[in-house]
Amino acid sequence: MSSTAVRRTLLYVALLAGALVSVAPYLMTLNASFKTTQGMFSTQAWTPAHPATFSNFSSLWSQYDMSGFMVHTLIVSVAITIGQVVFCSLSAYAFARMEFPGRDLLFWGFVATMMVPQIVTLVPLFFIMSHLQLADTYRALILPYVFGTPYGIFLVRQYFRTIPPDLEAAARIDGAGTWTILWRIILPLSRPILATLATVTFVNSWNNLLWPLMVTSSERTTVVTVGISALQGQYASQLNIVLTAAAVALLPLIAVFLLFQRHIVRSIALTGLK
């Protein structure tokens, strides 16, 4: 065997090991969701569920409002995702292309808020929502995130800046206005980054626990993360049910990723983001 072949084999072994380590927790979660409670404790996490049981899934639906959790989360995540894509595109265009006094200062000030952890704004935000009488509504879940985030605006702005200004100049000569330029030229060229933003936003909204936990209190607004966290007892919890719920909650995310996968890879290749 030549040295290149050896090196290549070693590389693949390393990559395979890395892939296994990354995927293993998900596979074990999925595997655990087919085990009985006693089967879970008497076998190792990686031992295949045998005989496989669907009882965890049925009790998830019979004892808990799993479909409700999923539908609520879907409503919130889709609303936030649409809002983010719309508002991040608008403000990113303003920050990337429009000239107005204090633009860069405003932009960097805005981006600087990315450094502030969510926990710091938790109490004030909750205070605002409860004074607006919005606690325990969908509006409280959606409003804080729907008008764009510094991260989203930064991401899209950086991408807009890679689009040649000449393209825009040419369009202006042809009589296009700002809105037409954004709608007909910039946005169609930015599909990969918008797909990335949509995916990241959807995943973050889907996985957000802290804010929904604080601001909602009734079953009609319970999202999936809050629902799953409530399944855990003070000291002991029914792990197989918790893991089954986690596995179910994972499915929509996998679907979203598969749907936008091509665009995400392309946008990473284009912007050099990692």
Binding site: T37, S42, V123, S130, I142, A230, Q234, A236
Partner: protein, 451 residues
């Protein structure tokens, strides 16, 4: 002009679509609709939800103008949520209260003193266990009516007991002392088996490769382990309720030393690497996996044992008694009323119902929790007997020598320090005396500084 209009139109349309979407999804947050008041009742235990929902259904039937929204928040997030709510003056109207948090909640003035309401309603409080009721009272102030109680008992694996030649009756009468270990350690030696089938008191026992330990002890603060050993050894955690911590007195240190010895000297208890919180598996899991034959746990975990282990494979016995006799921690919860609730009258109605014999009977008879009203205890025991488990050891414990949950404003500091230090003690990296001194000093300092 046209361009501007288009632009404005598009922006308005986008906003309208979004606002419409969010508004369409948003339910009404108004608590009062058509004369009906909606109360929020927050609890933390999933296994108790069904019983309380049944109780609330009965309450709503009797009070058509009150709706109760039962909110379940896991213990891990419960107090964070409550405190965030307190800071924003938006808390559930009625919620479960724990003695560990009572002093802070009352100091902050966010729970209602119900003593005048009790008087006005002419409630007979003598139905409650006096030890439980007094925990929620301080001077002339009452912060809640006892909802339930819990004690600690031994939970064991029946077949492992039989294999070691031990009977349930023997388990109920074990004794320990710090020097010889007593019949308690002797029993645990029989239950502890290494990979070669040898016991810790036999030559050639391999303490590094133990298949099953006699016991697994685990508690984030001591409630299910050293507090009980301490009580059995004459140790007092505090000089008085709301007083100073006294965990570094000889009786307490000796009890902590005894627990360390169970691990490091006699090799009959699972090591800290297996049981230290928060990374360890919970006690029902440890027992179900066969890593230990017995454990000390509270009755709140009975449902978890029942789910994790085959029916009829486990049993409950009393805790061992020590040099100072028997002893177990005796704790209980109450329902607290938020002092700034918009519906104080309705909240008091709910509190009264939840603490009434009718509701407590409903909850106890379903085998959910032991009731705060002692005459209803039989219902809980009967429910578990039907499931094939004799749980009376918890009740025997409650009727014997008990200590209440420590009442202090320094709970947060105590919990942090005790977890940190005792995790080291159970790994054999810190002496019981040093840990007790540290916990005592820091917790007492927190009382003075008001943290």
């Amino acid at each position: 002009m046209l361009k501007l209009t288009t632009r404005r139109f598009a922006a308005t349309a986008a906003c309208a679509a979004l606002v419409g979407l969010t508004a369409a999804c948003g339910g009404s947050s108004s608590a009062k609709a058509g004369g009906t008041v909606t109360l929020t009742y927050m609890i933390w235990q999933d296994s108790e939800k069904a019983a309380y929902q049944a109780s609330l259904d009965a309450f709503e039937k009797a009070h058509p103008n009150i709706k109760v929204n039962l909110e379940l928040v896991a213990w891990a997030q419960y107090w964070t949520k409550l405190q965030t709510g307190a800071a924003s003056r938006n808390m559930p109207d009625v919620f479960w209260d724990h003695l560990a948090y009572l002093p802070q909640l009352s100091k902050e003035g966010i729970i209602t003193d119900i003593s005048s309401k009790i008087k006005a309603a002419n409630l007979d409080t003598s139905v409650y266990n006096p030890k439980l009721l007094s925990q929620w009272q301080s001077g002339s102030v009452t912060y809640g009516l006892p909802k339930d109680w819990d004690t600690i008992a031994t939970v064991y694996n029946k077949s492992m007991l039989a294999k070691a030649g031990l009977t349930a009756d023997q388990m109920n009468h074990l004794t320990w002392d710090a020097t010889t270990g007593g019949t308690f350690v002797a029993a645990l030696q029989k239950l502890t088996v290494d990979v070669n089938g040898k016991h810790p008191n036999q030559a050639g026992f391999d303490s590094k490769h133990v298949k099953t330990y006699g016991i697994a002890l685990e508690a984030p603060n001591g409630q299910q382990d050293w507090w009980d050993f301490g009580l059995q050894n004459g140790c007092k955690l505090q000089d008085k309720a709301y007083g100073k911590w006294t965990v570094n007195t000889p009786a307490c240190v000796q009890a902590i030393q005894f627990e360390q010895d169970l691990r490091d000297k006699w090799h009959v208890a699972a090591p800290g690497s297996l049981t230290n919180t928060p990374n360890a598996a919970d006690l029902p899991t440890i027992l179900a996996k066969g890593d230990a034959a017995t454990t000390f746990d509270g009755d709140w975990d009975l449902t978890a044992f029942q789910a994790a282990m085959p029916a009829g494979s486990w049993g409950v016995s009393s805790l061992p008694s020590g040099p100072a006799g028997t002893g177990t921690v005796f704790n209980g919860l109450s329902d607290a009323i938020y002092s700034h609730t918009k519906h104080p009258a309705e909240a008091w109605e709910l509190e009264q119902w939840l603490a009434s014999p009718a509701s407590e009977k409903l909850v106890a008879d379903s085998g959910t929790v032991w009731p705060g009203i002692p005459t209803l205890n039989g219902g809980f025991a009967a429910a578990w007997k039907q499931k094939g488990v004799d749980v009376t050891a918890f009740q025997t414990g409650s009727e014997g020598n008990t200590m209440g949950y420590p009442l202090t404003t320094s709970n947060t500091t105590f919990n942090n320090v005790v977890l940190q230090d005792f995790n080291q003690v159970w790994l054999g990296q810190m002496t019981p005396q040093a840990a007790a001194d540290d916990v005592n000093t820091k917790s007492n300092a927190a009382i003075t500084s008001g943290n």
